[in-house]
Symmetry: C2
Subunit: 308 residues, 2 copies
Amino acid sequence: MNIVFSSRVESPERWFALLEQALPHDRFFAWPEVNGGDADLALVATPHEGLFSRLPRLKLVQSIWMGVDALLADPALPHHVPLARCIDPGMVAAMGESVLSDVIDFHRHHYLYRRQQAEKKWKKLRQYMAADRTVGLLGLGELGSTIGAMLRSFQFKVLGWSRRLKSVAGVESYAGAQGLAQMLPKCNIVVCLLPLTDETRGILNATTLALLPAGAAVVNVARGAHVVEADLLAALDSGHVARAYLDVFETEPLPAGHPYWAHPGVSITPHSAALTEPRTALPMIVENINRVRSGQAPLALVDFSAGY
Amino acid sequence: MNIVFSSRVESPERWFALLEQALPHDRFFAWPEVNGGDADLALVATPHEGLFSRLPRLKLVQSIWMGVDALLADPALPHHVPLARCIDPGMVAAMGESVLSDVIDFHRHHYLYRRQQAEKKWKKLRQYMAADRTVGLLGLGELGSTIGAMLRSFQFKVLGWSRRLKSVAGVESYAGAQGLAQMLPKCNIVVCLLPLTDETRGILNATTLALLPAGAAVVNVARGAHVVEADLLAALDSGHVARAYLDVFETEPLPAGHPYWAHPGVSITPHSAALTEPRTALPMIVENINRVRSGQAPLALVDFSAGY
């Protein structure tokens, strides 16, 4: 088969070495290349403009990222061609490391100890046990269920909110607007792992942040638009939210003048909480290429109506 | 039985409420109290001066801390009375959280991202997978084996060094001076969890730090005297050691003029990586009190000749 790769940020070289070794009889080429039009399958993340209109034979658009909100917002994306997300165990593991790191930073007061270090101040703060802390996960899909299990293994209490009630071992499940209003007051730490859809945009806003107990922490590793930034800043300024760990922002790169940069209550990472890792993403992508070849349904297809 | 509690830093009230509920027929009192001399058992951490010479009936000294180096260095400690360490699963869990947090802070470049945030700089750094990183544990006792298993569950490669070769699932075991020299060159991160003895004092020094690969990290959550501070500072200044996460120091509280405080390569916590948690320490202490009562050997006895 002919497989085109198109991304304005991911480099094809890292992928082609692995793909060509796994599938020596397929042809991989990076857009734009002469005769791109005969592609059966497109591997994409932030694809080049004009790509889709020139691929009449396409049988699958395979995202090499887990989040497909930017792709779905692209008016050029063909809706008659199936679109698959990338479920990369390495990316899920990376997200787990990042979330756990943020949760422990807050739980064990490391952000306060950094402040004390800057003041040359030696003072032990009260130690809590993980079982004393409740973490609320927004999103209970691949990421949420894996991260929930990880947090449970440390004895954190874990609650999870999703579109529909889910059954995840050890995780108390909530759904819908009413479920969110019931869950948030119990959370010392809330972690956003949701896909970005019309229903989840702005889910962390003045109203929902006010439902958190005073002194809670907010972790956002999903999409910037899940958080109403002015509302989070107000909650940080009032002290109602004690700390925010933010990896994603309404505008990325985060503009130089943004108040987050210098805010003492904010930890910023540059959308680096979890990057797709070609070594671990490869098996699923190879599987989907082989499924297209043999006429089987690809894995992890996006439901266009649900938006993820 | 009569049980005396003596500590210059731990408060007896937190313990007595739990102990009196668990053992309603025993008598708990805080030193100094009239008639302290009839104590059968002493619960201690940094005990008051003169305590031991006034307790002629003592059958067990039960430390409420895991580390007993300060007790063993106390010339007043009676060596004809057995001494037990405290193996507190809550303290072990807290240590696991602290070590994992330091390991991930280094592994996921969070210390560099904090620096970038201070400079309002948005730049993704190369993502490594946990399996790309090797963590060397100095010490493979209760702490090392538990923390080794935790790190393995994240797919870190884990090596462990101890006085004698040990068999810990998934952990490559090293022992002796030669073993240390073999292990250190493989470690991206070395974590000191050792008891402080004549053999382990100054184990991280110019010679051993030089064996680490360039750009490694050092985590010390054991005792300050495990590290030769001037040697670690030199290794940090040269860049050979990229980062040090230090919870313990030769002198505590860390003196205001110490170069660690303002060193850009050092994260300082005030000996807070893991505090004994009365709620989880209680079962073992109750068990040892009952063992003394019934004439059985207490758990976790210290080997005076080994020094832990």
